[in-house]
Protein backbone atom coordinates (compact mmCIF):
# COMPACT_ATOMS: atom_id res chain seq x y z
CA UNK A 1 0.00 0.00 0.00
CA UNK A 2 1.23 3.35 -0.92
CA UNK A 3 0.88 6.04 1.65
CA UNK A 4 0.74 9.73 1.14
CA UNK A 5 0.97 12.07 4.02
CA UNK A 6 0.16 15.67 3.62
CA UNK A 7 0.95 17.98 6.40
CA UNK A 8 1.05 21.60 7.13
CA UNK A 9 4.52 22.52 8.20
CA UNK A 10 3.45 25.67 9.84
CA UNK A 11 6.71 27.05 10.96
CA UNK A 12 8.89 25.97 8.10
CA UNK A 13 8.63 29.05 6.01
CA UNK A 14 6.92 32.32 6.28
CA UNK A 15 7.83 34.43 3.34
CA UNK A 16 6.27 37.71 2.53
CA UNK A 17 6.77 39.23 -0.83
CA UNK A 18 6.81 42.94 -0.63
CA UNK A 19 6.70 44.35 -4.11
CA UNK A 20 4.81 47.38 -2.99
CA UNK A 21 2.69 49.39 -5.36
CA UNK A 22 3.53 52.99 -5.96
CA UNK A 23 0.47 54.62 -4.49
CA UNK A 24 1.20 58.19 -3.61
CA UNK A 25 -2.35 59.43 -4.06
CA UNK A 26 -4.78 58.85 -1.25
CA UNK A 27 -8.31 57.55 -1.65
CA UNK A 28 -10.66 60.39 -2.46
CA UNK A 29 -12.20 61.75 0.75
CA UNK A 30 -15.80 61.00 1.50
CA UNK A 31 -18.28 61.50 4.23
CA UNK A 32 -21.81 61.02 5.37
CA UNK A 33 -24.33 58.27 5.09
CA UNK A 34 -23.82 55.82 2.25
CA UNK A 35 -26.43 54.30 -0.01
CA UNK A 36 -27.25 50.64 0.34
CA UNK A 37 -25.03 48.31 -1.61
CA UNK A 38 -25.99 48.32 -5.28
CA UNK A 39 -29.02 50.43 -4.43
CA UNK A 40 -30.86 51.48 -7.56
CA UNK A 41 -31.22 55.24 -7.39
CA UNK A 42 -33.29 56.84 -10.10
CA UNK A 43 -33.63 60.50 -10.93
CA UNK A 44 -36.12 62.53 -12.90
CA UNK A 45 -35.75 65.86 -14.65
CA UNK A 46 -36.89 68.62 -12.36
CA UNK A 47 -40.22 70.01 -13.45
CA UNK A 48 -39.74 73.37 -15.14
CA UNK A 49 -35.96 72.96 -15.21
CA UNK A 50 -35.65 70.12 -17.68
CA UNK A 51 -32.24 70.06 -19.34
CA UNK A 52 -32.03 70.35 -23.12
CA UNK A 53 -31.58 67.10 -24.98
CA UNK A 54 -27.80 67.42 -25.29
CA UNK A 55 -27.48 67.95 -21.55
CA UNK A 56 -29.81 65.08 -20.77
CA UNK A 57 -27.70 62.81 -22.94
CA UNK A 58 -24.55 63.95 -21.15
CA UNK A 59 -26.10 63.40 -17.73
CA UNK A 60 -27.38 59.96 -18.62
CA UNK A 61 -23.98 59.10 -20.06
CA UNK A 62 -22.39 60.22 -16.81
CA UNK A 63 -24.75 57.96 -14.86
CA UNK A 64 -23.61 55.10 -17.05
CA UNK A 65 -20.01 56.15 -16.50
CA UNK A 66 -20.59 55.95 -12.77
CA UNK A 67 -22.25 52.56 -13.01
CA UNK A 68 -19.57 51.12 -15.25
CA UNK A 69 -16.50 52.50 -13.54
CA UNK A 70 -17.53 52.28 -9.86
CA UNK A 71 -15.91 48.81 -9.37
CA UNK A 72 -17.78 48.70 -6.10
CA UNK A 73 -21.27 48.13 -4.81
CA UNK A 74 -22.00 51.84 -4.94
CA UNK A 75 -25.40 53.08 -5.99
CA UNK A 76 -26.62 52.29 -9.49
CA UNK A 77 -27.86 55.46 -11.14
CA UNK A 78 -30.38 55.82 -13.94
CA UNK A 79 -33.08 58.11 -15.23
CA UNK A 80 -36.74 57.36 -14.66
CA UNK A 81 -39.81 59.37 -15.46
CA UNK A 82 -40.88 59.20 -11.85
CA UNK A 83 -38.28 59.28 -9.12
CA UNK A 84 -37.64 60.78 -5.71
CA UNK A 85 -34.37 62.34 -6.84
CA UNK A 86 -34.18 65.03 -9.47
CA UNK A 87 -31.75 66.92 -11.67
CA UNK A 88 -32.42 70.47 -12.75
CA UNK A 89 -30.93 72.73 -15.38
CA UNK A 90 -31.15 76.00 -13.61
CA UNK A 91 -29.37 79.09 -12.46
CA UNK A 92 -31.28 78.97 -9.20
CA UNK A 93 -28.56 77.76 -6.94
CA UNK A 94 -27.98 78.76 -3.34
CA UNK A 95 -24.42 79.72 -4.15
CA UNK A 96 -23.64 82.41 -6.66
CA UNK A 97 -20.86 81.07 -8.84
CA UNK A 98 -21.25 77.31 -8.74
CA UNK A 99 -21.62 75.54 -12.05
CA UNK A 100 -22.86 72.40 -10.32
CA UNK A 101 -24.55 71.88 -6.98
CA UNK A 102 -25.56 68.57 -5.43
CA UNK A 103 -27.41 67.78 -2.24
CA UNK A 104 -27.72 64.22 -1.05
CA UNK A 105 -29.79 62.55 1.60
CA UNK A 106 -28.58 58.99 1.28
CA UNK A 107 -30.08 56.47 1.22
CA UNK A 108 -33.27 58.32 0.29
CA UNK A 109 -32.71 60.80 -2.51
CA UNK A 110 -30.54 63.51 -4.01
CA UNK A 111 -30.90 66.69 -6.00
CA UNK A 112 -28.49 68.05 -8.59
CA UNK A 113 -28.42 71.41 -10.31
CA UNK A 114 -26.38 72.34 -13.35
CA UNK A 115 -26.22 75.90 -14.59
CA UNK A 116 -27.56 76.59 -18.06
CA UNK A 117 -25.48 77.22 -21.14
CA UNK A 118 -24.49 80.86 -21.47
CA UNK A 119 -25.15 81.72 -17.85
CA UNK A 120 -23.14 84.85 -17.01
CA UNK A 121 -20.50 84.16 -14.43
CA UNK A 122 -17.79 86.56 -13.43
CA UNK A 123 -15.28 84.37 -15.25
CA UNK A 124 -17.30 84.74 -18.44
CA UNK A 125 -20.39 83.07 -19.81
CA UNK A 126 -20.64 79.42 -18.93
CA UNK A 127 -20.14 77.16 -21.93
CA UNK A 128 -20.87 73.45 -22.00
CA UNK A 129 -18.95 71.55 -24.66
CA UNK A 130 -21.94 69.42 -25.58
CA UNK A 131 -23.82 72.50 -26.67
CA UNK A 132 -21.54 72.82 -29.70
CA UNK A 133 -20.89 70.74 -32.75
CA UNK A 134 -17.25 71.70 -32.37
CA UNK A 135 -16.64 72.40 -28.70
CA UNK A 136 -14.49 75.48 -28.20
CA UNK A 137 -11.50 75.67 -25.93
CA UNK A 138 -12.54 76.67 -22.46
CA UNK A 139 -15.81 74.77 -22.38
CA UNK A 140 -16.78 72.42 -19.59
CA UNK A 141 -17.50 68.85 -20.53
CA UNK A 142 -21.01 68.29 -19.21
CA UNK A 143 -20.55 64.53 -18.93
CA UNK A 144 -17.43 64.96 -16.80
CA UNK A 145 -19.05 67.58 -14.58
CA UNK A 146 -22.16 65.42 -14.21
CA UNK A 147 -19.94 62.47 -13.31
CA UNK A 148 -18.28 64.70 -10.71
CA UNK A 149 -21.72 65.53 -9.31
CA UNK A 150 -22.67 61.86 -9.30
CA UNK A 151 -19.45 61.32 -7.36
CA UNK A 152 -20.91 63.64 -4.72
CA UNK A 153 -24.10 61.62 -4.86
CA UNK A 154 -22.00 58.54 -4.12
CA UNK A 155 -20.66 60.45 -1.04
CA UNK A 156 -17.31 61.54 -2.48
CA UNK A 157 -15.92 64.91 -1.39
CA UNK A 158 -13.15 66.99 -2.94
CA UNK A 159 -9.55 65.86 -2.40
CA UNK A 160 -6.79 68.15 -1.36
CA UNK A 161 -4.80 68.50 -4.56
CA UNK A 162 -1.65 68.13 -2.51
CA UNK A 163 -2.72 64.53 -1.94
CA UNK A 164 -3.21 63.79 -5.64
CA UNK A 165 -0.28 62.53 -7.68
CA UNK A 166 -1.91 62.42 -11.08
CA UNK A 167 -4.78 64.65 -12.12
CA UNK A 168 -6.74 61.73 -13.54
CA UNK A 169 -6.58 59.85 -10.23
CA UNK A 170 -9.88 61.51 -9.46
CA UNK A 171 -12.71 63.39 -11.12
CA UNK A 172 -13.50 65.11 -7.83
CA UNK A 173 -11.10 68.08 -8.02
CA UNK A 174 -12.42 71.19 -6.34
CA UNK A 175 -11.73 73.19 -9.50
CA UNK A 176 -12.44 71.06 -12.58
CA UNK A 177 -10.58 71.64 -15.81
CA UNK A 178 -11.91 72.87 -19.09
CA UNK A 179 -11.09 71.82 -22.63
CA UNK A 180 -8.40 71.01 -23.69
CA UNK A 181 -6.43 70.45 -20.48
CA UNK A 182 -5.68 66.91 -19.41
CA UNK A 183 -8.63 65.36 -17.67
CA UNK A 184 -11.18 67.83 -19.01
CA UNK A 185 -13.28 65.04 -20.51
CA UNK A 186 -12.55 62.17 -18.15
CA UNK A 187 -15.54 59.85 -18.26
CA UNK A 188 -14.62 57.31 -15.61
CA UNK A 189 -14.01 57.58 -11.93
CA UNK A 190 -10.32 57.93 -11.18
CA UNK A 191 -8.50 55.15 -9.38
CA UNK A 192 -8.64 57.03 -6.09
CA UNK A 193 -12.37 57.61 -6.49
CA UNK A 194 -12.76 53.88 -7.05
CA UNK A 195 -10.62 53.20 -3.99
CA UNK A 196 -12.97 55.18 -1.78
CA UNK A 197 -16.03 53.54 -3.33
CA UNK A 198 -14.48 50.14 -2.63
CA UNK A 199 -13.75 51.19 0.94
CA UNK A 200 -17.27 52.46 1.50
CA UNK A 201 -19.33 49.97 -0.51
CA UNK A 202 -16.94 46.97 -0.89
CA UNK A 203 -15.71 45.80 -4.30
CA UNK A 204 -18.28 44.70 -6.81
CA UNK A 205 -17.26 41.07 -6.44
CA UNK A 206 -14.32 39.05 -5.20
CA UNK A 207 -13.00 39.10 -8.76
CA UNK A 208 -13.10 42.90 -9.01
CA UNK A 209 -9.68 44.48 -9.28
CA UNK A 210 -8.68 46.42 -6.20
CA UNK A 211 -7.81 50.03 -6.98
CA UNK A 212 -4.12 50.80 -7.24
CA UNK A 213 -4.82 53.82 -5.06
CA UNK A 214 -4.96 51.33 -2.21
CA UNK A 215 -2.11 49.29 -0.82
CA UNK A 216 -3.61 46.34 0.99
CA UNK A 217 -1.86 43.38 2.55
CA UNK A 218 -3.14 39.96 1.59
CA UNK A 219 -3.27 36.62 3.33
CA UNK A 220 -2.65 33.45 1.36
CA UNK A 221 -3.17 30.07 3.01
CA UNK A 222 -2.67 26.55 1.69
CA UNK A 223 -4.14 23.22 2.72
CA UNK A 224 -4.13 19.73 1.30
CA UNK A 225 -6.45 16.80 1.10
CA UNK A 226 -6.70 13.43 -0.56
CA UNK A 227 -8.67 12.69 -3.66
CA UNK A 228 -9.55 9.38 -5.21
CA UNK A 229 -7.05 7.56 -7.37
CA UNK A 230 -3.99 8.55 -5.40
CA UNK A 231 -4.37 12.22 -6.11
CA UNK A 232 -3.72 15.13 -3.80
CA UNK A 233 -5.76 18.29 -3.81
CA UNK A 234 -4.03 21.49 -2.83
CA UNK A 235 -6.41 24.27 -1.93
CA UNK A 236 -5.34 27.87 -1.42
CA UNK A 237 -7.36 30.75 -0.10
CA UNK A 238 -6.56 34.39 -0.82
CA UNK A 239 -8.09 37.29 1.02
CA UNK A 240 -7.37 40.78 2.22
CA UNK A 241 -5.86 40.61 5.68
CA UNK A 242 -8.19 40.68 8.64
CA UNK A 243 -6.55 43.70 10.18
CA UNK A 244 -6.73 46.24 7.38
CA UNK A 245 -7.72 49.69 8.60
CA UNK A 246 -10.93 49.68 6.54
CA UNK A 247 -13.36 47.20 8.10
CA UNK A 248 -15.41 46.91 4.91
CA UNK A 249 -12.40 45.42 3.15
CA UNK A 250 -11.04 43.27 5.97
CA UNK A 251 -11.02 39.55 5.17
CA UNK A 252 -12.59 40.14 1.75
CA UNK A 253 -11.96 37.11 -0.50
CA UNK A 254 -9.94 37.63 -3.67
CA UNK A 255 -10.83 35.41 -6.62
CA UNK A 256 -9.58 35.12 -10.17
CA UNK A 257 -6.03 36.09 -9.31
CA UNK A 258 -2.85 34.30 -10.33
CA UNK A 259 -1.68 31.86 -7.69
CA UNK A 260 1.64 30.22 -8.45
CA UNK A 261 2.56 26.84 -7.00
CA UNK A 262 6.10 25.93 -6.11
CA UNK A 263 7.66 22.78 -4.73
CA UNK A 264 11.02 21.65 -3.43
CA UNK A 265 12.50 18.30 -2.60
CA UNK A 266 12.58 17.42 1.06
CA UNK A 267 15.68 18.97 2.54
CA UNK A 268 16.34 21.22 -0.41
CA UNK A 269 16.36 24.97 -0.20
CA UNK A 270 15.57 25.50 -3.87
CA UNK A 271 11.99 26.10 -4.92
CA UNK A 272 10.82 25.25 -8.41
CA UNK A 273 7.72 26.32 -10.25
CA UNK A 274 5.01 23.70 -10.33
CA UNK A 275 2.29 25.45 -12.28
CA UNK A 276 -0.62 27.48 -11.04
CA UNK A 277 -3.76 26.90 -9.07
CA UNK A 278 -7.14 27.42 -10.68
CA UNK A 279 -9.65 29.84 -9.23
CA UNK A 280 -12.38 27.67 -7.73
CA UNK A 281 -15.13 30.00 -6.56
CA UNK A 282 -16.05 33.48 -5.39
CA UNK A 283 -14.76 32.72 -1.91
CA UNK A 284 -11.18 33.25 -2.91
CA UNK A 285 -10.39 29.55 -3.15
CA UNK A 286 -7.97 28.11 -5.67
CA UNK A 287 -7.18 24.47 -6.31
CA UNK A 288 -4.87 22.06 -8.04
CA UNK A 289 -5.22 18.29 -8.17
CA UNK A 290 -2.32 16.04 -9.07
CA UNK A 291 -0.86 12.62 -8.35
CA UNK A 292 2.44 12.89 -6.55
CA UNK A 293 5.19 10.39 -7.26
CA UNK A 294 7.63 11.56 -4.65
CA UNK A 295 7.72 13.60 -1.49
CA UNK A 296 7.85 17.39 -1.76
CA UNK A 297 7.19 20.55 0.14
CA UNK A 298 4.66 22.83 -1.53
CA UNK A 299 3.81 26.49 -1.20
CA UNK A 300 1.75 28.99 -3.14
CA UNK A 301 2.68 32.54 -4.02
CA UNK A 302 0.57 35.54 -4.86
CA UNK A 303 2.71 38.20 -6.48
CA UNK A 304 1.67 41.80 -6.11
CA UNK A 305 -0.14 42.60 -9.35
CA UNK A 306 0.85 45.70 -11.27
CA UNK A 307 -2.79 46.56 -11.90
CA UNK A 308 -4.05 46.23 -8.34
CA UNK A 309 -3.44 47.79 -4.96
CA UNK A 310 -2.58 44.49 -3.34
CA UNK A 311 0.61 43.33 -1.71
CA UNK A 312 1.81 39.83 -2.44
CA UNK A 313 1.91 37.00 0.02
CA UNK A 314 3.37 33.51 0.31
CA UNK A 315 1.65 30.66 2.07
CA UNK A 316 3.07 28.43 4.71
CA UNK A 317 4.52 25.17 3.49
CA UNK A 318 2.58 21.98 3.02
CA UNK A 319 4.53 18.72 2.87
CA UNK A 320 3.22 15.84 0.84
CA UNK A 321 5.13 12.67 1.65
CA UNK A 322 4.84 9.65 -0.53
CA UNK A 323 5.82 6.26 0.92
CA UNK A 324 5.09 2.62 0.37
CA UNK A 325 3.45 1.60 3.59
CA UNK A 326 5.85 2.91 6.17
CA UNK A 327 4.83 5.57 8.62
CA UNK A 328 5.99 8.97 7.49
CA UNK A 329 6.31 10.25 11.02
CA UNK A 330 5.61 13.84 12.01
CA UNK A 331 2.32 12.87 13.61
CA UNK A 332 0.42 14.65 10.90
CA UNK A 333 -2.87 13.69 9.45
CA UNK A 334 -2.23 10.64 7.31
CA UNK A 335 -3.97 9.90 4.07
CA UNK A 336 -3.68 6.62 2.34
CA UNK A 337 -3.78 5.74 -1.31
CA UNK A 338 -4.41 2.12 -1.95
Amino acid sequence: MRRVVAALAGSLLILALSSAQASASAPTPAGGQVWNQNQRVTYRWHEGDEPPSWMRAAINAAASDSNESRSAKAALLSHASSAASWIGYTGAMPTTWAIGYTVRNAPTSFTMRLRPQGYPLDWGNLRWCQAYETPPAGCYDAEMIALHEFGHVQTLDHPNDADVTDWTDTVMHWAPKTKPKAGWNQHTFGRCDVARLQIRYTPLSSSTRISTCLDLNTDLSLSSSMASGGAVVLTARLKIVDGTIWPNLASAPLSSRTINLQRRAIGSATWQSFGQLTSLDENGRYTKTFSPTDSYDYRVIFNSPANEGLEGDTSLVVRVSVSNGSDCGYGQTKMYIC
Binding site: A26, P27, P29, A30, G31, G32, Q33, M93, P94, T95, T96, W97, A98, I99, G100, Y101, T102, V103, R104, N105, L121, D122, W123, G124, N125, L126, R127, P136, A137, G138, C139, I145, H148, E149, H152, T155, D157, H158, N160, D161, A162, D163, T165, W167, H173, W174, A175, P176, K177, T178, K179, K181, A182, R196, I199, R200, I245, W246, P247, N248
Partner: protein, 213 residues
Protein backbone atom coordinates in the same frame (compact mmCIF):
# COMPACT_ATOMS: atom_id res chain seq x y z
CA UNK B 1 -7.73 94.30 -16.69
CA UNK B 2 -10.37 91.71 -16.38
CA UNK B 3 -10.71 89.31 -19.27
CA UNK B 4 -14.12 88.36 -20.44
CA UNK B 5 -15.62 85.48 -22.32
CA UNK B 6 -15.25 81.78 -21.86
CA UNK B 7 -11.62 81.57 -22.89
CA UNK B 8 -10.91 83.76 -19.95
CA UNK B 9 -12.83 81.35 -17.84
CA UNK B 10 -11.01 78.35 -19.14
CA UNK B 11 -7.38 79.13 -19.61
CA UNK B 12 -6.44 80.56 -16.26
CA UNK B 13 -8.40 77.83 -14.55
CA UNK B 14 -6.55 75.18 -16.44
CA UNK B 15 -3.16 76.70 -15.92
CA UNK B 16 -3.89 77.08 -12.28
CA UNK B 17 -4.98 73.54 -11.67
CA UNK B 18 -2.49 71.88 -13.98
CA UNK B 19 0.31 72.90 -11.71
CA UNK B 20 -1.40 72.88 -8.34
CA UNK B 21 -0.52 69.36 -7.35
CA UNK B 22 3.02 69.65 -8.61
CA UNK B 23 3.74 72.73 -6.65
CA UNK B 24 2.11 71.51 -3.51
CA UNK B 25 3.65 68.06 -3.73
CA UNK B 26 7.10 69.60 -3.85
CA UNK B 27 6.42 71.87 -0.94
CA UNK B 28 8.09 71.48 2.39
CA UNK B 29 4.90 72.77 3.95
CA UNK B 30 6.56 75.49 5.90
CA UNK B 31 3.39 76.78 7.48
CA UNK B 32 2.17 76.08 10.95
CA UNK B 33 -1.14 75.21 12.51
CA UNK B 34 -2.65 76.07 15.82
CA UNK B 35 -4.60 73.61 17.88
CA UNK B 36 -6.27 71.95 19.50
CA UNK B 37 -9.49 73.68 18.76
CA UNK B 38 -11.32 75.63 21.35
CA UNK B 39 -14.42 74.12 19.87
CA UNK B 40 -14.55 71.83 16.93
CA UNK B 41 -17.14 71.24 14.30
CA UNK B 42 -19.40 68.54 15.53
CA UNK B 43 -21.45 66.62 13.00
CA UNK B 44 -24.61 68.44 12.28
CA UNK B 45 -23.40 71.69 13.73
CA UNK B 46 -24.57 74.74 11.89
CA UNK B 47 -22.03 77.01 10.26
CA UNK B 48 -20.82 79.85 12.32
CA UNK B 49 -22.05 83.35 11.56
CA UNK B 50 -20.21 85.53 9.12
CA UNK B 51 -17.47 87.70 10.52
CA UNK B 52 -18.23 91.34 10.02
CA UNK B 53 -15.06 93.01 8.87
CA UNK B 54 -16.59 96.30 7.86
CA UNK B 55 -15.92 97.80 11.24
CA UNK B 56 -12.32 96.69 11.44
CA UNK B 57 -9.88 99.18 12.91
CA UNK B 58 -7.49 100.99 10.65
CA UNK B 59 -4.43 98.83 10.07
CA UNK B 60 -2.04 97.88 7.34
CA UNK B 61 -4.52 95.26 6.14
CA UNK B 62 -7.42 96.45 4.09
CA UNK B 63 -10.53 94.44 3.48
CA UNK B 64 -12.16 94.92 0.13
CA UNK B 65 -15.93 94.64 0.21
CA UNK B 66 -16.95 91.23 -0.97
CA UNK B 67 -20.36 90.23 -2.21
CA UNK B 68 -21.91 87.46 -0.20
CA UNK B 69 -21.35 84.81 -2.81
CA UNK B 70 -23.07 82.07 -0.88
CA UNK B 71 -26.66 82.02 0.32
CA UNK B 72 -26.43 78.32 0.94
CA UNK B 73 -27.78 77.31 4.33
CA UNK B 74 -25.54 74.27 3.97
CA UNK B 75 -22.40 76.32 3.29
CA UNK B 76 -19.27 75.94 5.41
CA UNK B 77 -18.10 78.72 7.70
CA UNK B 78 -16.51 81.73 6.12
CA UNK B 79 -12.76 82.15 6.38
CA UNK B 80 -10.55 85.08 7.09
CA UNK B 81 -6.96 85.91 6.29
CA UNK B 82 -4.92 88.50 8.01
CA UNK B 83 -1.45 89.83 7.57
CA UNK B 84 -0.83 91.52 10.84
CA UNK B 85 -3.95 93.59 10.75
CA UNK B 86 -7.65 93.09 10.44
CA UNK B 87 -8.95 89.79 9.23
CA UNK B 88 -10.34 89.87 5.69
CA UNK B 89 -13.14 87.55 4.78
CA UNK B 90 -12.28 85.43 1.75
CA UNK B 91 -14.35 84.25 -1.15
CA UNK B 92 -15.62 80.73 -0.65
CA UNK B 93 -14.93 78.44 -3.59
CA UNK B 94 -15.97 74.82 -4.03
CA UNK B 95 -17.04 72.97 -0.93
CA UNK B 96 -18.79 69.98 0.57
CA UNK B 97 -20.58 70.52 3.81
CA UNK B 98 -22.94 68.43 5.88
CA UNK B 99 -25.62 69.67 8.21
CA UNK B 100 -27.87 67.27 10.06
CA UNK B 101 -27.22 64.45 7.64
CA UNK B 102 -27.76 66.52 4.51
CA UNK B 103 -24.61 66.98 2.46
CA UNK B 104 -24.29 69.79 -0.05
CA UNK B 105 -21.48 70.17 -2.53
CA UNK B 106 -20.93 73.27 -4.65
CA UNK B 107 -18.49 73.25 -7.55
CA UNK B 108 -16.96 76.48 -8.76
CA UNK B 109 -14.24 77.35 -11.23
CA UNK B 110 -10.81 77.98 -9.80
CA UNK B 111 -9.84 81.34 -8.40
CA UNK B 112 -8.31 83.31 -11.26
CA UNK B 113 -7.64 86.88 -12.21
CA UNK B 114 -10.47 86.60 -14.70
CA UNK B 115 -12.93 85.50 -12.05
CA UNK B 116 -14.74 87.50 -9.44
CA UNK B 117 -12.77 90.20 -7.70
CA UNK B 118 -11.24 88.62 -4.67
CA UNK B 119 -10.96 90.43 -1.36
CA UNK B 120 -7.59 92.07 -0.94
CA UNK B 121 -5.15 91.62 1.89
CA UNK B 122 -2.37 94.20 1.76
CA UNK B 123 0.77 93.41 3.67
CA UNK B 124 3.05 96.06 5.07
CA UNK B 125 6.20 94.04 4.52
CA UNK B 126 7.34 91.06 2.48
CA UNK B 127 8.05 88.98 5.54
CA UNK B 128 4.66 89.30 7.19
CA UNK B 129 3.12 85.98 8.09
CA UNK B 130 -0.43 85.33 6.95
CA UNK B 131 -2.91 83.99 9.47
CA UNK B 132 -5.85 81.87 8.31
CA UNK B 133 -8.83 80.95 10.40
CA UNK B 134 -12.51 80.11 10.11
CA UNK B 135 -15.32 82.07 11.62
CA UNK B 136 -15.67 81.74 15.37
CA UNK B 137 -12.59 79.57 15.60
CA UNK B 138 -14.26 76.71 13.78
CA UNK B 139 -11.87 73.77 13.65
CA UNK B 140 -10.50 71.98 10.63
CA UNK B 141 -8.42 68.87 10.18
CA UNK B 142 -5.95 69.83 7.47
CA UNK B 143 -5.08 72.74 5.24
CA UNK B 144 -3.00 73.67 2.23
CA UNK B 145 -2.18 77.21 1.13
CA UNK B 146 -0.80 78.20 -2.25
CA UNK B 147 -0.59 81.08 -4.68
CA UNK B 148 -0.35 81.57 -8.41
CA UNK B 149 2.91 83.05 -9.65
CA UNK B 150 3.49 85.22 -12.72
CA UNK B 151 3.85 82.16 -14.92
CA UNK B 152 0.59 80.66 -13.81
CA UNK B 153 2.26 78.10 -11.64
CA UNK B 154 0.70 77.23 -8.34
CA UNK B 155 3.26 77.52 -5.58
CA UNK B 156 2.75 75.99 -2.16
CA UNK B 157 2.91 78.33 0.80
CA UNK B 158 2.23 75.85 3.53
CA UNK B 159 0.15 73.01 4.77
CA UNK B 160 -0.56 71.12 7.91
CA UNK B 161 -2.98 69.22 10.06
CA UNK B 162 -3.79 65.57 9.82
CA UNK B 163 -5.87 63.48 7.50
CA UNK B 164 -9.28 62.28 8.49
CA UNK B 165 -10.78 59.07 7.17
CA UNK B 166 -14.30 58.36 8.40
CA UNK B 167 -14.14 54.81 7.11
CA UNK B 168 -10.94 53.77 8.85
CA UNK B 169 -10.49 52.08 12.19
CA UNK B 170 -9.23 54.45 14.86
CA UNK B 171 -9.63 57.39 12.52
CA UNK B 172 -9.29 60.74 14.13
CA UNK B 173 -7.94 64.09 13.22
CA UNK B 174 -6.37 66.48 15.66
CA UNK B 175 -8.28 69.67 14.97
CA UNK B 176 -6.63 73.00 14.42
CA UNK B 177 -8.23 76.39 14.49
CA UNK B 178 -5.73 78.50 12.62
CA UNK B 179 -2.91 78.24 10.14
CA UNK B 180 0.09 80.43 9.55
CA UNK B 181 2.17 80.65 6.42
CA UNK B 182 4.52 82.98 4.63
CA UNK B 183 3.37 85.40 1.94
CA UNK B 184 3.83 85.07 -1.81
CA UNK B 185 6.80 86.73 -3.39
CA UNK B 186 6.56 90.47 -3.74
CA UNK B 187 3.88 91.38 -6.22
CA UNK B 188 1.14 93.91 -6.62
CA UNK B 189 -1.44 91.19 -6.10
CA UNK B 190 -1.29 87.41 -5.99
CA UNK B 191 -4.16 85.01 -5.64
CA UNK B 192 -3.78 83.06 -2.43
CA UNK B 193 -6.01 80.05 -1.99
CA UNK B 194 -6.51 77.88 1.07
CA UNK B 195 -8.12 74.45 0.95
CA UNK B 196 -9.26 72.87 4.18
CA UNK B 197 -10.75 69.56 5.16
CA UNK B 198 -12.94 69.47 8.21
CA UNK B 199 -12.62 67.22 11.20
CA UNK B 200 -15.94 65.55 10.56
CA UNK B 201 -15.68 65.36 6.79
CA UNK B 202 -16.32 67.90 4.10
CA UNK B 203 -14.03 70.53 2.65
CA UNK B 204 -13.87 74.09 1.45
CA UNK B 205 -11.65 76.33 -0.60
CA UNK B 206 -11.14 80.06 -0.03
CA UNK B 207 -9.45 82.75 -2.06
CA UNK B 208 -7.93 86.21 -1.61
CA UNK B 209 -5.76 88.62 -3.48
CA UNK B 210 -2.68 89.37 -1.42
CA UNK B 211 -0.57 92.43 -2.17
CA UNK B 212 3.02 92.09 -1.06
CA UNK B 213 5.27 95.18 -1.17
Amino acid sequence: MKRTGLAALAIPTSVLMATLWLAIACSSSPGTSTGPAQHSGAPGQSPSPVIDVTGAPSTTTVGTPVPMESKDPNAPPVATLSGGGAAVQGMTGSYCWTVAGTSACADLPAFTDSGPDLPVVTLSSADTQLQFSLADGYAFASWTASYVDDNGNVVALGGGGSSFDPDAVHSSAAPVTSASFGPPTAHDQSIVQVFVRFTDGGDASYGWNVAVP
